[in-house]
Assembly symmetry: C2
Homo-oligomer: 371 residues x 2
């Protein structure tokens, strides 16, 4: 196990519900609180455990909503109070990560922060650690660094990062400049990227000196930056924090860090990338979950939950069982069944992306109590 990196702070934004995983993920129990891989612990806890050797237990922060504060602390009993940053309402990733950057930079001016989603799945953690170590070295040299995942298929579900020229940074043998930062492509483009091999998936990991990240934010979104700095100045003064947060936070622009920081930095040649040669999955929908759990055997029915009460006859796909009911599935390929106490979802891998629109329809039709 590596020694924790001295000037490094890990930040875990734990925000999104994961609507495409409804009815498993809910407003009350979002995706990051679930054990989606059968590992026995939640994705959030997995994320913490993965970052622990890199940052140490006192230098991992979580940014989350009020509604989840209690559950986050139950999952992570070791977390220090000062490392829990509560968003009074969700304002997207630039505000969440920017808040952490602004607070941590005030506490420790030269700190390097790395942001890692709370609800992704990663295996082969040695390779993950090596990628982060390199990214920190690149960040120390003044770049904002991301970790890109070599695609395993022509996915239209992720943004892509095009590799540029190699970077000469001590301790980061695989680092490169980012040529281009591209949004989710259409299938034809995705196929081209996949064949090209110079395109990597954007896994939403950003590592940079907090002051560099904030300077980039100031250049692109000055009002957002100013608001975050004002909040950060009051954050560690209990008497002032609540007033400033209540006044400023609701005014902050909702924007993804990709647009507010990463793309403009790429355009200026200040964004670097380290390829991450580990298994990564954002477990974005049930098709992706089915694939992950099937463990390379798509010809069978994968089961998450009460195995011995599921009977699959000539069927493949995924059954998520959160109740004690017997579940019999007969003759359906790529089936997705998610059985919870108050809601049942039946779809196929092919239509897994549509689940988000079902959530919208349930909300609109007054059945939001199950969301």
């Amino acid at each position: 196990m590596p020694e924790p990196i001295e000037d490094f702070y890990a930040v875990i934004p734990a925000g999104g519900i994961g609507s495409r995983l409804w009815p498993l993920s809910r407003a009350e129990t979002p995706k990051f609180l679930h054990d989606l891989t059968g590992s026995g612990v939640s994705l959030l806890r997995n994320t913490w455990d993965r970052l622990l050797p890199l940052a140490g237990p006192e230098r991992i922060a979580v940014v989350t909503g009020k509604a989840h504060e209690q559950k986050v602390e139950t999952e992570l009993p070791e977390i220090l109070d000062r490392n829990v940053f509560i968003e009074s309402d969700p304002r997207e990733s630039a505000a969440a990560i920017g808040l952490a950057a602004a607070i941590l930079q005030r506490r420790e001016p030269d700190v390097i922060i790395g942001s890692f989603a709370a609800d992704h799945h990663i295996s082969r953690t040695r390779a993950f650690e090596f990628a982060v170590q390199q990214a920190v070295a690149v960040a120390r040299a003044g770049y904002i660094c991301t970790i890109g995942i070599p695609p395993t298929e022509p996915s239209v579900g992720f943004g892509y990062i095009q590799l540029g020229g190699e970077l000469e940074v001590e301790g980061a043998p695989m680092a490169a400049e980012v040529e281009r930062f591209v949004e989710k492509p259409d299938l034809e483009t995705a196929r081209r990227y996949y064949a090209d091999r110079s395109f990597l998936w954007n896994a939403g990991m950003f590592i940079g000196r907090a002051d560099v990240l904030l300077a980039e934010l100031a250049a692109n979104e000055p009002e957002l930056h100013a608001g975050l700095v004002e909040i950060a100045e009051a954050w560690d003064e209990p008497a002032r924090r609540d007033e400033v947060v209540a006044r400023v936070w609701p005014t902050l622009k909702k924007i993804a860090i990709d647009y507010a920081v990463a793309e403009p930095a790429a355009a200026k040649g200040r964004l670097a990338v380290v390829p991450g040669h580990f298994d990564w999955d954002d477990v974005g929908d049930f098709a992706s979950l089915a694939k992950l759990i099937s463990d390379g055997r798509p010809d069978r029915m994968s089961i998450l939950g009460q195995n011995d009460r599921v009977l699959a006859d000539e069927s493949t796909g995924l059954v998520v069982s959160q109740t004690n009911r017997v579940i019999a599935v007969v003759g359906v390929e790529g089936l997705i069944v998610v059985d919870t106490d108050d809601a049942l979802l039946v779809t196929t891998s092919e239509h897994a992306q549509r689940v988000k629109s079902v959530v919208g329809a349930l909300q609109e039709s007054g059945r939001g109590s199950v969301l």
Copy 2:
């Protein structure tokens, strides 16, 4: 409404569980106790109501198992005690109908009985009544008469009856001899029968003088006949019935009335048929139920149960909802979802026939508590 037919007695065998409709149909609550059509009452009650104008309330008998006696009497509060015939264990249709014939014939030597399944769906009841009236006229002339349904598709799920020459019976203008009685055919044969138009579906309805039915049974299955007669002689003597039933019933051969009576009668030219020009469905499996409920609109999702908690997005088929859960189905054609408190079935219309084997597998694997 017609006057009840004076010498006619209707018999309703209410036996089968309807395994292909699991988990809706169970040993405790077999198919005939369910409202499968959204009519508001059970199939058994529908059957009773349909026979009432033909036989009157005092001349409809039900043959059922001990386990269902109470529920049958709840469904049919008007039924006379003397018209409830309890089977101490299930011994198939020849024993069930033969028991009724033997008891009723002792009570009323010239009685004509008609046997009608408890769990079929029929609409256009005027046409049904007309068919039964004709069949009774044919039975009075000494034939055993069945009612055959003109096929609406080349089904492999039913036996077929081939029409022979016309019969000259007063009051039965559509009656014909039965040329041949054939078992469930393969698809190619079914297509031929369907094109031929002289083949009708065997809907399991038999009408005959009780003495004629018993004579046919005596000729083909003498031991079964002798046993039934022995039981019938003791039936109306409370002091003797239990002893005789306990001794004789368990020895009776298990055989379908088709083999024990109808086929041999057809071979002798003693089986007649009246075509029934009404809508008939045996509601044998979920594919058939889906079709029945869809009301000729297979392009939509049919719902049996809690309509307002089912959300179907780009899906067709059938959802049976017996719980209060929200059910969302996304992007599956011909889907069958049956949601009950302790068991969930997911399949497609195409595989509806396989449900019976699932029931077998659940039994074998020790999960019989949900059957």
